[in-house]
């Protein structure tokens, strides 16, 4: 059983996130960290590997060279190997370009299962798995809160807007897990010490046979045209309850013609 976990380095949670007005891309110059939602996918991969007692967990990512630091967290948790597509030509890739390049890296790995976390915390993206599944021509199940493997197929129970779905798919398959699926383990000291010596491979676009016109900005089909501040919310009013708060709320709602 070979499991690939697609992960991403995002700006550290404590960093103030901003879009660079010049490049119109997210400013990634500050401290980076493993996208917290991806830790759930890594944990699930390790849990599945432990349950079957054999197999390999490889984390796959796209990003600048220094993103290896963030990938090491996944290695410290217990993943066996890391693959990073680090190429200046891939910077600024949108969904189409990212899914193409990531798809090529996954085709090279030939995993039985590809896992994603439920969203990226930087771009609020929650779509990449479906595009990657389409590139690989594999079934996809998203938002999975319970995952079981049996024989050559997997069953995912997931939350939707309307309740629960239980979906079954044959392997190889692509699954995005919800963050409620598990509690990611903390890396042990031994894990942290051992992470550096685990195999870490850096790939270029050329290594994957992706031409420059299909990656980065040239390969992207969307563009950022302008940035602006959000419209102000208008005045806010704050009152202390002196026993008449309910009446004051009713007066406010009535003034706004809401009741």
């Amino acid at each position: 059983m070979k499991i690939a976990v697609c992960v991403k380095e995002v700006p550290d949670a404590t960093a103030h996130k901003r879009i660079d007005a010049g490049t119109k891309r997210l400013d990634r110059s500050g401290e980076g960290a493993l996208n917290a939602f991806d830790a759930n996918a890594v944990e699930e991969a390790l849990r599945l590997k432990d349950a079957t007692g054999e197999g390999e967990v490889v984390v796959v990512s796209m990003g600048p060279e220094r993103a290896l630091n963030s990938l090491r967290k996944a290695l410290a948790m217990g993943a066996d190997r890391a693959v990073l597509i680090a190429d200046d030509g891939a910077a600024g890739s949108d969904l189409v370009a990212t899914s193409l390049t990531l798809g090529k890296a996954l085709e090279r790995e030939q995993p039985d299962l590809v896992l994603f976390g439920q969203q990226s915390s930087d771009s609020d993206g929650a779509v990449l798995w479906a595009a990657v599944a389409e590139r690989l021509k594999r079934p996809v199940i998203s938002q999975v809160a319970e995952l079981t493997l049996e024989g050559g197929s997997l069953t995912g129970k997931r939350q939707t807007e309307f309740g629960y779905d239980v979906i079954k798919a044959p392997l190889p398959a692509v699954v995005a897990v919800a963050d409620s699926i598990n509690e990611p383990r903390y890396p042990s000291l031994k894990g942290i010490m051992g992470a550096k010596s685990k195999p870490q491979e850096t790939l270029s676009l050329a290594d994957l046979g992706v031409d420059g016109g299909s990656a980065g900005e040239p390969g992207s089909r969307t563009e950022v045209l302008a940035l602006a501040d959000p419209p102000p919310r208008g005045e806010t009013r704050k009152i202390e309850d002196d026993g008449s708060a309910a009446e004051q709320i009713v007066a406010f709602l009535s003034e706004k013609r809401l009741i």
Partner: protein, 320 residues
């Protein structure tokens, strides 16, 4: 300008969000606005779509399309885009719609912009308004090629009913092998009482400040008095106080009702991103430093256990 809108349905009804996107597409002024409905046993849905601005409603009614799974829908829409020369495909955000939109983007090598709150036409090209980075910045986004794909944030638009009736055209898409690999084994729907939070004009939401799960009754009674729906924060959903279908925020739903009353909610950024586009926000919280007071139109520092029941009574009295 040829626009196709994916019309999601559930329980024999088209989703309000999808109809709102259809109305938006119709308002762009093109005469070639179509909707597509995919599923099984779809009687009556196409007529509803025709009343919301679709000049043509394409219907793929097939037992193999019954389960709301994304990949067969990618096949259906990709086929329409190719056959009808569709330039733009628009979706209202949902778990299903996001998976279809992204699969379609890869299939058609098409640009996908998400978290859209509006779209405008400018000399033949389209510009989307995207709310980004926790709503701290508004981004104008474009598409460099056609087809274009757009995913609208839930609750950002309203459906508009129109007199014009469109034509209905059935089609039978060819489905790919990998698209039929996943299979719905079971669909268990949560019991719903009252309007769903996506469709509600008024939402009353409860958080940790309620103290215990039984206190959600206070929130439910106020919602009932106002004819609204009940929402919850992630913290209380995780704690098992309320079902996930009611969760508002980064990992739940985004809503923008006319009135949002937050009871015992601190207003952490993860919750804020799901509700800050509500037209009017009222917050009741005992902590005067709660972040929600920075963006609530009316903030009340006080004990919700005393204020909310009284408020419910006053609202009931006014409504007779």
């Amino acid at each position: 300008m040829s626009v196709l809108v994916f019309l999601e349905h559930h329980g024999g009804e088209l989703q309000k969000g999808s109809l709102a996107v259809l109305s938006k597409a119709a308002s762009l002024g093109g005469d070639d606005v179509a909707g597509v409905i995919v599923g099984s046993g779809l009687d009556g849905l196409a007529e509803q779509a025709a009343r919301h601005g679709a000049a043509t409603v394409y219907v793929a009614d097939d037992p193999r399309l019954e389960a709301p799974l994304p990949q067969p829908r990618v096949d259906a829409i990709a086929e329409l885009v190719a056959d009808k020369g569709v330039e733009t495909v628009l979706f209202a955000q949902s778990i299903l719609a996001a998976d279809i939109a992204a699969g379609l983007a890869a299939r058609l090598e098409a640009g996908l912009n998400w978290q859209l709150t509006d779209i405008t036409e400018d000399g033949g090209s389209l510009i989307g308004k995207q709310s980004a980075l926790g709503d701290s910045v508004v981004v104008d986004v474009g598409w460099k090629t056609t087809p274009r794909i757009g995913l609208f944030r839930a609750g950002s638009l309203d459906p508009v009913e129109q007199a014009a009736a469109g034509t209905i055209e059935a089609f039978s898409p060819e489905l790919q092998e990998h698209s039929l690999a996943a299979e719905m084994v079971e669909q268990a729907h949560a019991e719903e009482s009252g309007p769903s939070i996506e469709d509600a004009n008024v939402i009353v939401a409860g958080g940790r400040g309620l103290g215990e799960p039984e206190k959600f009754a206070l929130v439910e009674e106020l919602a009932k008095a106002l004819g609204g729906a009940v929402a919850a924060t992630r913290a209380v959903v995780d704690a098992g106080w309320y079902p996930y279908s009611a969760q508002v925020g980064q990992t739940g739903k985004s809503v923008s009702p006319t009135l949002y009353i937050a009871c015992g909610i601190s207003g952490a950024i993860q919750h804020k991103v799901g509700m800050q586009s509500s037209k009017t926000i009222v917050a009741i919280n005992k902590d005067p430093n709660a972040p929600i007071f920075e963006f609530a139109d009316l903030g009340v520092v006080g004990d919700l256990h005393a204020i909310v029941p009284k408020l419910t009574e006053l609202v009931q009295a006014r409504r007779g």
